[in-house]
Structure formats: C-alpha cells, structure tokens
C-alpha cells in the first residue's frame, strides 16, 4: 500500500513549506554563527596585545616542536584513565549497590557506603593525591609500593568511585519499583533482579553523567604530575619552561579535546542503538 500512495498537492505544499522553514532556520543559524564568530575573531585580532598573545599561545613552530613530548605525556594520561576507569566502575557499582540494599542486616554496608561517598566527595583530590603519593611511601613500610603512578591512580580511583557511586545510585533509584516487582515475580532473586533488570536500565539512563566523570577523569589524571610523573600537562610545562611560550599547553588542550569528542559521540550512538531515547520526540 505504501508504494501506491502519492502525496496530495496540499501535502506537497505543506512539505515544501516545511522544507523552506528548515532551510530558513539553517540559513539563520549559519548567519548568526558567522556574525558572532566574526565578531569574536575581529575583537581578538584587533586587540592591541594580540600579536603578543598569538605568539605566546598559538605559535605553530612551538606547537610542532613540543608535540612529541606532549603526546608522549598524553599516552600516560590515557593509560591511567583506562585502568582507573575500569576500577572506578567496579568500585562505584559496588558502593551504589551497597547503598540500595534493604534490610537491617545490611546496615553496616549502607553506613560504610554513605560514609565513604561523603568523605571522598568532600576531600579535595589534590589532598588525597599528596597523602597517598607522598605520605604513604614516607612511612617506609615493608612491601608497600613507592611508585607514584600507582598511588596517584589509587587516589583517583578512591575519589572518583564516590562520584560514580552516587550517579549510579540515582540511576538505580530511577527504575520504577514495578520493574523489580515483575522480576521478583518471575522468581529472580534480589541479586538477579538487580543484575538483569534494574542495572541495565539504570546504567543506560545515567550514561551521560557517567561520561562526564570519564572525561573529567581524563583531565584530572594530569594531577598525578604533582607526584613527579610526566603526563601531558607536565610535559607541556617543561616545554614552556625554556622560553615562557605557553603554546604546549594549548597543544595538550587540543589533544584532550580530540580524545573527548569521539568518546562522547560513541556513547551517544551506543545509547541510541540500544533503543533508549527517553523523553523527547516530536512533541
């Protein structure tokens, strides 16, 4: 039947009108972007200090010469991020699940989870890093690692799991109780309901804020530099120290953004592929 149908003249007129509106709003968007962008560029380039700023932050030669060192530092950021992300996901999930357990026997677990998140969300990451990275090795205990990357990573995992646990808890609590009831009615245990029914829906819902934490982790992995490790930002700092040209920082920034954007797009695509659109649609 679908192939027999041809739109009526009235419908063709409507479609033409809608296309025209789409085209117009596209043009308006392009025009306003051009005008605004042009104004910003003009304001920047005509400012009295621009040549100096351009040389200090956007020098192509400096960018090129610092790229290998910064990229090498970035590789460390990426490795730290990947390993920590997995550990944070596990620990965060554990904490979130602990927090949602019902029943008086689980009170200690609930209390621990609540206290943990309260503490590590409140503590500045830098303090945790210094305490673990400098404080613990200074105790000179037998068999305790002294590696800065290890302790830096541990600090990141401890802090970030607290954030991620809260995001996941919000997701778990957003799944309607009827879903759990339906799962339990089929004979699934509490743990099975959580694993096969509640968590898949919960995680999908909180994917965007989880991505926030992942991207933020990627940048905060640079804080390990305070323990003397050379990551992208620290590498840029070293490059800068020779001539006070800040271009390497900009190079590091661009590399970070280049990592972030595909990551976010891939998650969005994945969420859509899973058929989750949430609120929205045509009305």
């Amino acid at each position: 039947m679908a192939d027999v149908w041809t739109p009526s003249p009235r419908q063709r007129e409507r479609d033409a009108y809608r296309r025209d509106r789409t085209r117009r709003s596209g043009l308006a968007a392009a025009a306003s972007t051009l005008v605004l962008g042009g104004a910003v560029v003009l304001a920047l380039t005509t400012s009295p200090g621009w040549p100096r700023v351009q040389h200090t932050f956007f020098s192509p030669e400096k960018a090129w010469s610092s790229l290998p060192a910064v990229a090498q530092g970035l590789w460390l950021n990426v490795r730290i991020m990947l390993v920590c992300a997995v550990l944070i996901a596990v620990l965060g999930m554990l904490l979130a699940v602990m927090r949602t357990l019902r029943g008086p026997i689980f009170f200690p677990l609930r209390l621990f989870s609540a206290a943990y998140t309260d503490l590590f969300r409140g503590l500045p990451l830098l303090l945790v890093l210094l305490l673990l990275g400098i404080g613990v090795p200074a105790l000179r205990l037998q068999g305790v690692p002294k590696d800065a990357v290890f302790w830096g990573g541990t600090a990141l995992v401890l802090s970030y799991s607290a954030y991620v646990a809260e995001v996941l808890r919000a997701g778990i609590e957003s799944v309607h109780p009827s879903q759990r009831a339906a799962a339990r009615s089929l004979g699934l245990s509490h743990a099975q309901s959580l694993r096969f029914v509640v968590l898949p829906q919960a995680v999908r819902r909180v994917l965007p804020p989880l991505m926030n934490d992942l991207v933020s982790l990627q940048k905060d992995s640079g804080l390990i530099a305070v323990l003397g490790v050379i990551d992208a930002i620290r590498a840029a700092q070293i490059e800068t120290a020779t001539d006070f040209n800040y271009t390497p920082y900009v190079v590091a920034g661009i590399l970070f953004v280049c990592l972030t954007i595909p990551m976010v797009r891939v998650t969005d695509w994945f969420a859509r592929k899973q058929g989750f659109h949430g609120a929205g649609g045509i009305v």
């Binding site: 039947m1 679908a2 149908w5 009526s8 419908q11 409507r14 009108y17 045509i282 009305v283």
Partner: protein, 252 residues
Amino acid sequence: MSLLSVQGVRKAFGANVVLDDLSLEVEPGECVVLIGASGSGKSTLLRCVNLLEVVDDGVIELEGQDITDPRVDADATRARMGIVFQAYNLFPHLSVLDNITLAPVRVHRLPRVEAKSRAMAMLERVGLQDRAAARPDELSGGQQQRVAIARALVNEPTLMLLDEVTSALDPELVGEVLDLLTALRSDGMTMIVSTHEMGFARQVADAVCFLDGGRIVERGTAAEVLGNPRQQRTRTFLSRITTGLPGTVQDR
C-alpha cells in the same frame, strides 16, 4: 458546520500504514465512539487530531480551521481540546490540584486563586474534592483517571478526546469513569471516545464508527452498527469480542 472534520487523513509509521485515507465528521455536541481491534488506528486518529502526531496527508479541520497546516500554532490548537489517555499520564511529582491547575495557570494565564477555585469545582464534579492534596500514586486507577478527565475539562475544551480511558482499570472501577463520561455527555460536550466497552457505546454514542485497516468501515447509530452490522468485518469483530473467542472460519 462540523466541529471536527477529518478528510482523507493518512498516517504511516515506516511501512506500517495506520490511517489510510480516513474521513470522519463530528457535529457540535455529538458523541462519536470509535471501536475496532487493537492496531486498527483508533489511538493514532485521536493523537493526530490532538497534533501529537503529524499526519502524512489529508486535512483535519477544527471549527473550520485547518489545524494540520504547518503554519498553525500547535500549542494554541491543543489548548482548545482535551485528551485523556489510557494510562492516565498524570504528573507524578505534582499533587492532584497542581496537576489540574498547571495548564490554567501556565497556558491560559489564569490567576492562581481562580485556577484553584475552578480546579476545586472540577474535582467536586468528578467526586474527588477531598483528594486535592494527594499525589497521583496515592489514588486508585479509577480516581486517577477521573483526575485526568478533570485536568482536561478544566480548560473548557470545545472537544474531548478519550483514548481507551477504561482499558487500564479494574472492572469495578470502570463504572465510576463511564458514569462521569455519561454525565459529561448529557452536558452536551462534544466527544470522540475510543473504547472496548460496547455497553457504554450503546448507552451514550450518537454515532459508532468501526475502524479496520486504517479506515472507517462502518458508521451508524449504536443500534445499527452494534445491533445489525452491514459489513462482514464488523460482524467478525463483534462476534470475537462478545464471545471472547476468535471468529469462526466461515465468519471470515
């Protein structure tokens, strides 16, 4: 002039043509009941009239105005009708009273005091004046649906669309909602009701339309369509719902 005139409307979701060149006229004060199997297009028709779906072709006129024209303000058009959904669709974060006053205050710009007094009058009409402060999940299904009807009625719509409003209710709660609709009918409200309640159709319908394959197969009074259907497809449908069994082979 018809209050609502649906002319040759088509709506497809992908390859699935749900409404196929469907036409329907509704006179002011008329109560039109839509019957038909699930998937016959009853809900889609109501959603198209409420502009919750964009039609692929055809015209829908409300009081002579083409509301399917893309130049029409959809929000203003929707504000002239009320729609009640099968699943109530009350806002769970608002009290019963706030559910009802949301549109009067935000859309129709009524002073809050007046919106509240109108809402209370409407709640009294649906018999729930003592539950104004309750949250929707504290109410029974029938009470929730009566609140949903009150929420639609408080805006004084020219047309009420009711989409299988009793389908999610326990049998003993169906009555309270149908009684309310019958009272509404006596007040002269123009209504389009999609339903599986044939008894209700007999009681209130000025016209019964049987939908199948995205078209209105048969239209007539309740006595004609339900009592003495002209079309074979209508007979098959009615025999299925009255016996609760699939139609026999010779029926097809």
